[in-house]
Symmetry: C2
Subunit: 226 residues, 2 copies
């Protein structure tokens, strides 16, 4: 008869905070923000909801942790070396692409002011803004302008994707829809919206995003020259 060998080691797959976060990311990626529920999570992890609460505090903490996991690997990825401007562009684009593949990161970022994921971004950009030679008293303004712009785009993009998903549209036909609605607005009250409506479906979101970054960077440079 086999003796009872007291195994210190539990099954390889025993629950851990890391595992909870990992499976949460899978769930979020595959079924969007509404796909992350404690019931779906329990099922995938083959446990009860109580077990999950042993490793995390709440759903919102879990969401932030999952978000931070993506942001951390994005901000630690090697950037193009070059001028501070080039590095800032590279960081911003990396973030843009990460949010493009994980739309839920965009909405989560919006809801985590002052928390770890945001601090990571702030830090990386902040260092480059310093390297740019921006005077001390303008650093915060510059960094927070860049950060808020990025968060704004992130949020809008995330919700565009989310909306398209909910209504079973691809991104192209979603933009087509918005374009049509805008072009039917009152000509007297909404001349500008109507005039840009037509270029909406064909525009390149990613290029627009980086053009905005460049615009802000130009403002920073302009300040130094006065």
């Amino acid at each position: 008869m086999p003796k009872k060998v007291p195994s210190v080691k539990r099954r390889k797959e025993s629950l851990s905070r890391e595992r909870v976060i990992e499976v949460s990311i899978e769930l979020l990626d595959s079924s969007g923000e509404s796909g992350l529920t404690f019931r779906a999570l329990s099922e995938r992890l083959v446990t009860g909801p109580g077990a999950i609460y042993w490793h995390i505090d709440s759903k919102s903490e879990l969401l932030t942790a999952a978000c931070d996991s993506i942001v951390a690997r994005t901000m630690n990825a090697p950037t193009a070396s070059g001028t501070p401007e080039a590095i800032i562009r590279s960081l911003a684009l990396g973030l843009y692409d990460a949010i493009d593949t994980h739309p839920w990161v965009g909405s989560t970022l919006t809801r985590a002011p002052g928390q770890l994921p945001i601090v990571r971004i702030l830090e990386r950009i902040g260092q480059q803004v310093c390297a740019l030679g921006v005077p001390d008293e303008e650093q915060w303004t510059t960094v927070s302008a860049l950060l808020n712009y990025i968060i704004g785009v992130a949020g809008q993009n995330a919700d565009n994707t989310q909306f398209a998903r909910t209504h079973n549209l691809d991104r192209a036909s979603f933009l087509e829809t918005v374009s049509t609605v805008w072009s039917e607005l009152d000509p007297v009250e909404y001349p500008f919206a109507r005039s840009v409506a037509s270029q909406l479906p064909s525009h390149d979101d990613r290029a627009d995003f980086i053009a905005g970054i460049d615009l802000i960077l130009r403002g920073v440079a302009g300040a130094g020259e006065r």
Copy 2:
């Protein structure tokens, strides 16, 4: 949503889409985003949830409508007359203040890309950007940079307020907390965050916000000179 305007005159106190939105705003203002539920709404309106669904399509549509009501009155408020720059600043500040008094507007704005509240803002800013003499092909970039920045700040502010409310803190002690956390970060990995931590509690959010707007406007001006 009602299909047609009812032919007979309604009783003053009868339910209407406007009344539903009005009470929703009261609820959102007094108890935050989590305060708006169909049960609370039914109670205040002295009806059942079914009655509410006769006038609105869903909770998200209701939220957008409530948001639009605030945004509309803000964007239609008289602005300082003067240069296009001055008007843009005035519009932005009006929005900032509206979100300060109705934090839920900030988060709702983030979740309504391409929808009416956003279009109103886009339109007002767009007209001034045109007046600024920005060439056609740069108008969209300029307007969306401003818009995304505003939305980014709006979202962060809304969530700061929301967080403070949940944890029963005032804004000052909330910033104090964030400041402390940042100042205790690893000095090697987070030099920038640490360096700005101390100025966090004393800074003027509203002034920072407008400084960001000015930064972007400077970038726009800079583009014209090249």
